[in-house]
Every structure is written in structure tokens, then in C-alpha cells.
């Protein structure tokens, strides 16, 4: 576990896996799209709009999955203090936020023809909206510090607090909803899902998961690069000052504390 968490090992490992991941994701996406748009039957109640489900539901799953992933990374960074855990959490947030926003948008586009309204204060919609707020809060917090490492650490703590809160929010929104919900809106639960519809749903979900891992790897690399740039810039400044003063202490300090020199 610790071995894989070393940045150099991570880079090598993911570098080897990347072409396979991309190929797999592309194949899954093509097959998923074919099944979702052409190969699956029309729902007897909802007609063709059921095809929105093949985007909407996997996106909702990913929105939740990414948040749980962020919290797990936060826990790992808290317990084992892995530098990579923070970076993974940080790289996950934009993907999770994107999928959560997509859930809301596609849900809206599904609700308009089916329920006759773009938005209802339904328990699920509302919980999803709050999840989006949690993502936005995390992203804002992580980017609010001059030192990215400090931002990631604060973000990990927030993700943990958030994940404790998510069930409470979900429960309270459900409770609030049963009190206020007008009964006129049709529920989307519906009967158990037909296998011909389940297949595109699952394949799209896997395609989204593949997409998530590709973005995760790319963003972790981006983050590692940026940290290295920062470390180099700081050490560069140190060198300039040391050279100007003829000061050997600064150089000696720099040698050991390259990464922490910003504090």
C-alpha cells in the first residue's frame, strides 16, 4: 500500500496502465451510447425520455462515489499522512462536482417533459443540490491557500466532516420532504428495471468510472508537477539569496527542506 503511494511508483504504474484505461473507457462509452440511444427499448410509460436515465443515474452514482472517494482519501491522509491521499482527494473534487451538476441538469431536462417542471423540491434533487454545495465548498477551500499542501490538508478534513454530515443531511431532507411534498408529482422509482435497460445503465456507469480514473491520474500528475514547480521556485529564490549573501546556511537548509521551504 505504502509502496504504491510513492509518487514515482504511482507515475510509473499509471503510465503503464493509462493506454489500457483509455481504450477500455472508449469501448465502454461507445457500447454504452449505442445501447442507450439505439439498442434499448422505449419505456412504456416514459417513452424515449427514459434514455436520459442512462446519463442521469450513472452521473448521480459517480457524484456520490466521488464524494465517498474524497472522504476515504481524507481519512487516509489523516491516518497515514500520505502526500498522495490529499492530492487524490483534490483531484477527485472537480470530477465529482461535474457529475453532480450533470445529475441536476439532466434531471431537470428529464423532469420537464415528465413532471412538467424543471425543478421540484424533491428529496433526491435537494440532497443532490446540497452535495453540489459541499463540492463547491471543498474546491473553494482547497484553492484558498497560498500553500497548496495546506489547502489539500484542510480540504481532507472538510471532506471527512462532510461525509459524516451527508447521511444527516439526507435524512433531514427526506423528513422535510415528506412533510412538504405535494403528492401530485410522479415518483421516479418505478417498477424493477428491465435487463435490457440495466445493461446500458451499468455500462455507462463503468464508462463514467473509467473516465473518472483517467481524469484522476491526469490531475494527480498535474498536481505533482505544480508542487515540484513550487518547490523549485522556492529553492531557486533561496539560491539567489544565498549567492547574493555568500550564505552557506541557506543552502544547507535548502538541501534538506526543499519541500517545506515555503513555511
Amino acid at each position: 500500500m505504502h509502496r504504491f503511494a510513492k509518487p514515482s511508483v504511482f507515475l510509473k504504474l499509471t503510465g503503464a496502465m493509462m493506454p489500457w484505461m483509455v481504450a477500455l473507457t472508449v469501448i465502454l462509452t461507445v457500447v454504452g451510447l449505442y445501447l442507450a440511444l439505439i439498442g434499448s427499448p422505449v419505456d412504456y410509460q416514459q417513452g424515449n425520455t427514459v434514455r436520459i436515465m442512462y446519463i442521469h443515474v450513472p452521473a448521480a452514482w459517480m457524484g456520490l462515489f466521488c464524494y465517498v472517494g474524497m472522504a476515504l482519501c481524507g481519512a487516509m491522509s489523516l491516518i497515514w499522512k500520505h502526500p498522495l491521499a490529499d492530492i487524490c482527494a483534490r483531484a477527485t473534487a472537480p470530477v465529482g462536482a461535474t457529475f453532480t451538476a450533470l445529475t441536476l441538469i439532466t434531471g431537470s431536462l428529464w423532469g420537464e417533459p415528465m413532471w412538467g417542471t424543471w425543478w421540484v423540491w424533491d428529496a433526491r434533487l435537494t440532497s443532490m443540490l446540497i452535495l453540489l454545495f459541499l463540492y463547491l465548498g471543498y474546491i473553494a477551500l482547497v484553492n484558498a491557500f497560498d500553500d497548496p499542501e495546506r489547502g489539500s490538508k484542510a480540504g481532507s478534513a472538510l471532506a471527512l466532516v462532510g461525509v459524516v454530515n451527508v447521511p444527516i443531511v439526507k435524512f433531514s431532507v427526506d423528513w422535510w420532504n415528506t412533510l412538504h411534498q405535494p403528492a401530485s408529482v410522479a415518483r421516479m422509482d418505478g417498477p424493477s428495471i428491465d435487463p435490457s435497460m440495466l445493461a446500458p445503465l451499468l455500462i455507462m456507469a463503468f464508462a463514467f468510472t473509467g473516465y473518472y480514473f483517467i481524469i484522476l491520474v491526469l490531475r494527480v500528475r498535474l498536481e505533482l508537477n505544480q508542487r515540484r514547480i513550487r518547490a523549485l521556485q522556492l529553492s531557486g529564490l533561496f539560491d539567489e539569496r544565498a549567492a547574493a549573501n555568500g550564505d552557506d546556511d541557506a543552502l544547507a537548509y535548502d538541501q534538506g527542506h526543499n519541500a517545506g521551504a515555503g513555511k
Binding site: 489523516l78 446540497i130 454545495f133 459541499l134 463547491l136 465548498g137 473553494a140 477551500l141 484558498a144 491557500f145 497560498d146 495546506r150 489547502g151 490538508k153 484542510a154 478534513a157 472538510l158 471527512l160 466532516v161 462532510g162 459524516v164 454530515n165 444527516i168 443531511v169 435524512f171 433531514s172 431532507v173 423528513w175 422535510w176 412533510l179
Partner: protein, 221 residues
């Protein structure tokens, strides 16, 4: 325990000396509440209908307004760093500071709330429940808010940021707080809502000091 009392007294004395803190919070609460009749019109029925929600939302915002300063000044002048180095567990000190925050913001809000309820034409049946709900709810707001206040230490634009972090976490308190008052207004027992709020308070009492202390240690290290 001595340290807890000491930090509580210190924070209270600081708040009293500056004086303006509690007054500002209450003034903000009253002004925000007063905006609603201008927005939705002065019709008594409508105001009575939305009163509990409006009061809770305004209380949430007012409690959040003062959060930024819970740790910020101590962080800037280095006091917080000394506190983390003290042999007393930081969690206890955090609890002391949260207590002081609640006494200077939560408590005045509880006293101001019935006044605003009268002005919004709320039925008298709800007053008792409103005050009890706020008595249980506002400490939870201070506890949850302290986490946000600690996380933003050293961040840019901390004040705006803390609202974005904390407000989504406040939603359960808002739902059950307003729900309790509404139940009381309908003549139903509000016990269920109040008990759930109690559970939220206990959970945040158990978890928030640790999360806050963790965030503070990150900030000063």
C-alpha cells in the same frame, strides 16, 4: 477544567470589552428579519406562515457572521499557537472558545427571537417551542461553525469562504428547528423534532471539538 473556564472567561471578557460583537449580531439578525416583510409584503397571514423559517434563516446567518473571528484574531497574534503547545488538550480549549461564542451570539439571538416572532405576527403557541428549539439548535450552530472557522485560518477571503463551507452543514438544524416551530403552531407535539435536534447537538458536541482542534493544528504547524 480550569483551563476551560479560563479560556471561556478570557474570551468573554474580550468580547465584552469590545462590546460590539453581540450587539452587531443581534442587530444583523433584526435587520435581516425586517427585510422579509419588505420582500413579501406586509400581509399578516403570509408573514405568520413564514415567520419560523425566516427567524431560523436569519439566526443561521447571524451565527455564521461572527464565526470568522472565533479563531482569526488569536491566530494572527500567535495566541492559538501557544494554546496548541499547552499541556491542556486543545479539544477542551476549543470547547471553551465555542462556549464563549455561543454565549455572545447564540444566547442574544434566543432573546431577540421572540421579539421578531411578534413582529412577524407569529402565533403565540409557537414562542415556547421556538425558544427551546433555538436553545438546542444554536449551540450546534456554534460547534459546527467552529470547524469551518478553524479550516479557513490563513486562507484568502476567509469570510466568504466560511459561509460556503458552513451553510450546507447547517441545513439539518434549519430543517428541524423550523419544523419544530411549525409543529407547535399546528398544535402537534414538537418532541420528535426537538429530540432529533438534541441528537444533532450531541453528535456535534462529540465530533466538532476534535475536528476543530485537528484543523487548528494544521493551521499553526
Amino acid at each position: 477544567m480550569n483551563a476551560f473556564v479560563a479560556i471561556l472567561r478570557r474570551d468573554l471578557r474580550l468580547a465584552l470589552r469590545q462590546g460590539a460583537d453581540s450587539v452587531m449580531v443581534v442587530a444583523f439578525f433584526i435587520v435581516t428579519t425586517t427585510l422579509f416583510p419588505f420582500g413579501v409584503g406586509p400581509e399578516a397571514n403570509i408573514l405568520a406562515r413564514i415567520a419560523s423559517g425566516v427567524i431560523w434563516v436569519a439566526a443561521l446567518l447571524a451565527a455564521m457572521l461572527s464565526l470568522e473571528r472565533v479563531f482569526q484574531t488569536d491566530y494572527e497574534d500567535g495566541t492559538l499557537e501557544l494554546l496548541t503547545l499547552s499541556p491542556v488538550p486543545l479539544e477542551l480549549l476549543v470547547l471553551g472558545k465555542v462556549c464563549a461564542h455561543w454565549l455572545t451570539t447564540g444566547l442574544p439571538l434566543i432573546i431577540a427571537a421572540p421579539v421578531m416572532a411578534v413582529m412577524l405576527n407569529m402565533d403565540q403557541d409557537g414562542f415556547g417551542t421556538l425558544m427551546i428549539a433555538m436553545l438546542i439548535g444554536t449551540p450546534a450552530l456554534s460547534l459546527i461553525g467552529a470547524i469551518g472557522a478553524a479550516l479557513i485560518l490563513g486562507a484568502r477571503r476567509g469570510g466568504v469562504l466560511v459561509s460556503l463551507l458552513v451553510l450546507p452543514l447547517y441545513i439539518p438544524v434549519l430543517i428541524f428547528g423550523a419544523g419544530a416551530v411549525e409543529a407547535a403552531l399546528l398544535g402537534i407535539s414538537a418532541q420528535a423534532q426537538l429530540q432529533i435536534m438534541g441528537a444533532i447537538l450531541l453528535l456535534s458536541l462529540a465530533a466538532a471539538p476534535f475536528a476543530t482542534a485537528h484543523a487548528i493544528r494544521q493551521a499553526v504547524e
